[in-house]
Amino acid sequence: MKIDVLIVGAGGAGLYAALSAVKENKDLNIAVLSKVYPTRSHTGAAQGGINGALANVDPTDNEELHTFDTIKGSDYLADQEAVKYMCYEAPKIIREMEHMGVPFSRLNNGKIAQRPFGGASKDRTCYSADKMGHVMLHTLFEQCIKEGVTFLNEWFMLNLVHNGKRLVGVTAINIATGEVELIKTKAVILATGGHSRIYWGYTSNALGCTGDGTAAILRAGLPVKDMEFLQFHPTGLRKSAILVTEAARGEGGHLLNNKGERFMAKYAPDKMELGPRDLVSRSIMTEIRENRGFRDEEGREYVQLDLTHLGAEKIKKRLPQIRELAIDFEGIDPIKEPIPIKPTAHYAMGGIDTNVKCETPMEGIYAAGESQCVSVHGANRLGGNSLLDIVVFGNVAGKEAVRYAEGTDFAKGGEGKKEEEVKFIKELMNKESKETLGDMRNELGEIMFKHFGVFKNEDEMQEGYNKLKNLIERAHKNLGVEDKSKVFNLDLQSTLEFFNLLEIADVLAYASLQRKESRGTFFRDDYEKRDDENFLYHSVITRNSDGSFNYKKGEVQLGLYEPAERKY
Amino acid sequence: MKKIGIYPGCCFQGADEHNYDIIVAFLDNMGLGNVLLDRAACCGGGVIDETNKKIVYGLNARNIALAEKEGVDLYTPCNTCYMIIAKTKLALDSDPELKDAVNKILADEGLEYKGEAKIYHTLNLIRDFVGLDEYKKRIKRQISGVKIAPYYGCHVLAPNEVAVDDPEDPTILREILEPLGVEIIEGYQNETTCCGYHAGFTSPGQKERLAIKPLEGAKEAGADIVATPCPLCHKAMDGYEEPILQVTQLINVACGMTPEETHIHINKTEVKLSL
């Protein structure tokens, strides 16, 4: 199979990239490859909204303030020109999507409605009730149908193939048939999403958020960036860790400890519940650690998110999905009772190292969305900035990839790689499992949450890293695929996804041990302060062929705002 | 004597006039008195919506209000009338603004929708209004040696909010048929698919294909007769190889009436009941 521009992943970044690529050059052969049907992608789960200084609610808002809030929120690890680019694109791209048909909630004057959000100085978050990601994803999919975008649905990417100078193609498995194919392509855009599933059982993410593109980048010898930064969202449901949107606090929800106190008064006296996510997550965990949390029969610890004072009408109108989730997954109606919540692994700031043009160091390979790290989120992402990031950089990636593909031909070779994949999968299928995938995934989640969770320190992390190394070794030795069928073999796919998770957990743990400071979402008990003198850099890591890591310090682009202490 | 309000839908009219006799006899056999809500109007039939959905709320709020004025609950044997009226009741009871707005208009006719009257269909009428024990006592003879396939139709089980029984595992029809002494055939092909009645005009081929499916499934499973509570399902599915009757007709026979007295001879597909 030959495709000029291949987009891997069909979430917001992938679909926007596809649209911008198709609009850029209709004559190219452009396709989206996805392991799920497009509208299943995790973008759809984004609830709260998308940030842009439209100034519809607060006329004093502007792009500059958005830029500053984002940089401050990032704890000064974001590249400031990249943030500026994103924030100045925001109003334009939001309106562009509005013109495509995104059904935004509206103000009485007919303009797009905006609400307050954590870490934002103005009411800047555009929304559609509490299902912004869902309506965006579906509208982008509709536009892809209109533009006649080709989809390879339920294909699973295995590896990137390059010749050391440029991309040759990707290998992928057609899930329906089990056939492995080499797809020759001039340019690939990895829009493969995040990897919070390394916290299996403790994450808001979909089952498939396994960092497939990021792991493939590592195997291709290419760099990942800032992997130690993974955000815990303060409000995951107690039992399932499913997300309760920040909009619940944006609309006026209170966080309460077991004394009935709004404890955020201690940690963020000005912004209260609307402090940035890293701060709120740590505050919740501190309350729990100091025995001011709640504990249920099964020993799960949590605090309460109280919406009852908002009243039935506001909850039904602005937060209908949250109400539904609380009823379905906790058996609690937020109109009547507070929702039990705890922090949940939510978003990877780190990912595939690219520049602002979405280019990796390898010609023809691009990345966009959560899998990518430009970086615009630095050490902590603000709510409402991820839906923005994926479309802004999806758009850039689509255009850049087309430009590259227009000036090049298909590279030769790659057939050997396909044979390798076939052989690898055959061996995996023939191997008898000595341990089960389910147990091992749970073990991974336990290790990561306990040792690389909201609070970290040297001893805990070292212990965790040893456990992780042991798990990785056992997995490669003991794990086979019990399902022998070729047709729709999800057991095989899950096993391959698990190997991806292990690659990522390994590099995340390694990167965490190198950073001896606290910054944004990355918090260590043993180094509680940010240390700009020694650690104001991007960690850039490649994996050597012997499995060891190559660690480099990448420069953080400042220039607009000098790093200052973050206070909320 | 307990009384119930009979809601006259289009299933009592013209070629279907006999349905009225059937249910009056049935209520009599159950020991119930009745009031005919003779100023009630069409429920909308899922067609008035094509003019204006609000009229459906108005019509049925008024229909229920007529029953309330008489101090009785409302009974219809028709699955569709039941579903539409019950759905309206749900809408009115959960939306005070809508209820107030309707009542303002109803006041002109001296009517008020209070939300007190319950909506009954044959199935929940027997279970909840008559009571299954009382029902069994009123059965005078057994219709033995006949295999009956129960067929609910759609609108007594969907939408879930107005279902007369657990829509995933309904048992009420079996509980009503068993005391008649018949053998019950369940789990046949297309037991739960639609009779197609409401596509009769707009897509006759569609109606034809759908009507036949459950009948064939029942026949294949060895049933002699299909029994439905709904006069519309009956109308849609009568006339093919496998006969279909209304549950109330069978009950009337078991309560001592002759098949002719309860209009079984009008069936297009002939039915033989051995008594």
Binding site: V36, T39, R40, G44, K92, R95, G101, P103, N109, K111, I112, H138, I145, K146, A206, E297, D328, F329, L437, G438, D439, K484, V487, L490, D491 | P8, C10, Q13, G14, A15, R39, A40, A41, C42, G45, D49, T51, K53, K54, I55, Y57, G58, K104, I105, E109, C154, L157, A158, P159, P167, E168, D169, T193, A199, T202, G205, Q206, K207, R209, K213
Partner: protein, 319 residues
């Protein structure tokens, strides 16, 4: 945490042998599992070959639609313990799509049908600006007309339970028609309304049997059956003249005149051809044979019909 024991009866499909069969799994699990968690438990602990789609596990991605106890729904949204009926939960693939393996069905035909109805906004240049300096203005009440319909997650639960497809496999499907509705109601849409309606008609609005099963199946509470009625209304109001729109007009007229629909004359009026006349003649013959008097051929206005007519007029205007 309480553990409960029950049987999970799963309809599996083996593609290599092209064979469907039921398999029972006896489980003893916590009582708080969703059906999806139950399936994951079976896959992790009992049979790793059991195949089903799942992704977000929070009822927004639409991957895990299947038939549970004869009703389509999302496995992740449904509590397993609520579905145990006499010790058994019954799980099957969606009924109107071909199984690929076990609970996984081929969704492609349903997506193809979606594409046929042009499921996208064609921006109306009168409403949608040609630049990104401003957005189109949409009043909250204008958005409210299709707000609910934008909740659709394309999970296909409605499609998997649709009786109209049972009768006619070419029928488009409930969610597809809800999508037409969504764009017909969007003030920003510039596609000719007749074209939108034509797409709905060509893809089956007249084949819908109004069984309500799509509404019962929808995890988001969308009533496609009602959207279809609205589309029929729009078809009528935009001047469509066919059997259905003639039926709708006549239905309202006779209910307005008498309180009841005139079923005697309806076929002749709606069909508007010889066949309709023939049906009326046959009815007349049948009535006479059965001794039904002429005045009972058609409904007679009930007492004080004028008050009823005032009521209907007021409802149309004020409700």
């Amino acid at each position: 945490m309480e553990k409960i024991k029950y049987t999970v009866k799963i309809k599996r499909y083996n593609p290599e042998e092209d064979r469907s069969y039921w398999q029972d799994f006896e489980v003893e699990v916590e009582d708080s599992l969703t059906v999806l968690e139950l399936l994951m438990h079976i896959k992790d602990k009992m049979d790793s070959t059991l195949t089903f789609r799942a992704f977000c596990r929070s009822a927004i991605c639409g991957s895990c639609a299947m038939v549970i106890n004869n009703r389509a729904g999302l496995a992740c949204k449904i509590q397993a313990k609520d579905k145990i009926k006499r010790g058994v939960i019954k799980i099957e693939p969606l009924k109107t799509l071909k199984p690929v393996r076990d609970l996984v069905v081929d969704q492609e035909p349903a997506f193809d049908k979606l594409k046929k109805i042009k499921p996208y906004l064609e921006a109306d240049p009168k409403i949608v600006p040609d630049n990104t300096k401003v957005e189109s203005l949409v009043l909250p009440e204008e958005f409210a007309r299709y707000d609910k319909q934008t909740d659709c997650i394309l999970c296909m639960a409605c499609y998997g339970q649709c009786n109209a497809i049972e009768g006619n496999p070419e029928y488009s499907g409930p969610f597809q028609l809800t999508k037409v509705f969504r764009f017909v109601m969007d003030t920003r849409d510039g596609m000719d309304i007749q074209e939108r309606i034509k797409l709905a008609e060509d893809n089956g609005i007249w084949d819908c049997v109004q069984c309500q099963m799509c509404f019962a199946a929808c995890p988001k509470g969308i009533a496609s059956c009602e959207d279809i009625l609205e589309l029929r209304r729009v078809a009528k109001d935009t001047g469509e003249d066919n059997v259905a729109t003639r039926r709708a007009k006549f239905w309202f007229e006779t209910v307005f005149a008498t309180g009841q629909i005139d079923k005697f004359n309806l076929p002749a009026v709606a069909l508007n051809d010889e066949k309709g006349e023939e049906i009326r003649n046959n009815l007349a013959k049948e009535f006479t044979q059965r001794g039904i008097s002429q005045e009972h051929f058609v409904p007679q206005p009930f007492e004080n019909i004028k008050d009823f007519q005032k009521f209907i007029k007021k409802v149309e205007k004020e409700l």
